[in-house]
Each structure stands twice: as C-alpha cells, then as structure tokens.
Symmetry: C2
Subunit: 158 residues, 2 copies
C-alpha cells in the first residue's frame, strides 16, 4: 500500500486549517445551514423565507425593498421569496395605498405559527451542532459570536 491507509470515513482535516478561526466558523456555518435547510424544507420554506418571516414579526409590515435592505437580500431575489410565502398564505401582500409602486407585506397568523415552529427547529439544530458543549459554553460561544458580528465593519459585505 503506497500511501497511509484510510482508517476513517470522516475527513481528517489538516491541523493547519483547524488553527484558522474563520475556517472553523465557515465549516460550522455550512453545517448549520445544511441542517436548517433540511428541516425547513419539511415546512415548505427556505432560509431566506425564515429570515423574512422573522423580520416581519420583529419590525412589522414592510415593503419588499425594505425587507431586502434589512436582510441583505437582493430585491430581485425577494420575488422568489414572495412566490413561496404568498401562495402558502404565510404573508399577506397588498399594494401600499400611499405609494402604489410598493407592496405592503405583513405576517399572517399562519406565518407567525410557521415562524415559531422554525425557531424551534433552530434550537434543535443548535443542540445538534453544539452537542459537545455544555450550557455555559454554548452561552459563551453565542455571546462572543454576537459581539464579533456586531463589531464587523458596518459598511462591509458580510
């Protein structure tokens, strides 16, 4: 056998890469997105849809342009999001009577229920992703991530 045999199925990552904090965050972030995406699919929605539902609950009704600006979604991509949320009845969409160029998008009762369910899924995903950490460690990790995120150069692409 010319080269070391593979003893495991898991990627045995190079130590050099495991020293890179950004690499670990990226790997964990991708793992989280995949798990959340898999779970949300059962509710018929995607990650952006969840973000829109959350924004509508936290900030109230908004135009598509406002939603895009708040969430960092390109306005053209919000069309696809609405094509999911409107037929499912998770949001109500009317023309803004004061400016008929805009839609006024609002959370519906079933949208609120779906949001609650999705946030519950998010807690389960966290418990899965952070299974190796105890409660204090999870809280510390979350606090540090929030602090770091809040400190990102505000004008920079995230």
């Amino acid at each position: 056998m010319p080269y070391p045999a593979f003893v495991s199925e898991v990627p045995q990552l190079p130590p050099s890469l495991l020293e890179i904090t950004a690499f670990l965050m990226s790997k964990m972030g991708i793992a989280g997105r995949r798990r959340m995406g898999d779970r949300l699919r059962a509710h018929g929605i995607g990650l952006w849809d969840l973000a829109v539902l959350a924004a509508l609950r936290d900030f109230g009704p908004a135009s598509q342009r406002e939603l895009g600006a708040r969430l960092g979604i390109d306005p053209s991509d919000l069309v696809a999001v609405m094509d999911v949320l409107v037929p499912l009845g998770l949001v109500e969409r009317d023309r803004d009577p004061e400016d008929r160029r805009r839609y006024r998008v609002a959370l519906s009762p079933s949208g609120r229920a779906t949001l609650e369910a999705a946030l519950g899924e998010a807690r389960e995903v966290r418990d899965d992703l952070l299974a190796a950490l105890d409660e204090d460690e999870r809280a510390t990790l979350h606090t540090l991530l929030r602090k770091a995120y809040a400190g990102l150069e505000p004008r920079a692409r995230v």
Copy 2:
C-alpha cells in the same frame, strides 16, 4: 413616509435571527470566506487550493482521491484544483509508479511559500473578523469552535 425611514445603510437584522447561534456562525463564516477568497485571489489561488496545500504539508504526498476524502472535496472537483496548482508550480504531480491509475501529488517549495503567505492572510482576516474581541475572547471562541466541530456526528455531512 408610510413606513419607518431607513436610518442606516447596514442591514439591521431581526433580533429573532441574532438569537440563532447557527445563523451567527453562518454569517461570520460567509464573511470569513469572502475575505479569504478576496485575499487569496491575489495569490492566484482559491479556498480549496489553500486546503489542498495545507493537507499536503501536514500529511505529505497523496493521491487526488485521498486529498478529496480528507478535505471533503468531490474527486471530480479536484481536477479543477489541480488545473490551478500544477501550472502555477505549487504542487508536483507524477503518476504513482506502484499504481499508475493514481497521481502522486506533492507540495513544491514555492507551494510551501504560498501556503505560508496564505496562512498569514488568514491571521489578518481573523484580526479583522474578530476586531471586537480581545485576545482572551478570541482564544476562547477558537477553543469552543474546535470542541464543537470535533463533536459533530462523524458520519454527518458538514
């Protein structure tokens, strides 16, 4: 003005989402990938290319299939990686004399130098991403991420 005016250019994310650890990791991970990708472009390589260089240094020469298995890259995508690294002279690639189906890929001296430079970029990206954290907090964050990553279900897609 029908809806609250936008006071900032930055996405003001919904608090509901900021409570989701996986969401924060994903956002930070994407920010890190973007910054690393931008910097590596100046060296003529991409993120996967860096991972391959690191694997070759940490584990020694390997076949493309082995590299793919270690790093979680599909073997067919390793073709494109080699199309970058070989012409740049960052790796040397010969047929394995013991099994001529395989290549034997090895780090070249200039590949090692490029790897060192890229790891230096990674440290600068970390300092940028974690600007809001002090040294102790950065170390804690890194330790927690490593522990969580190491605890991920070994057979799961990450």
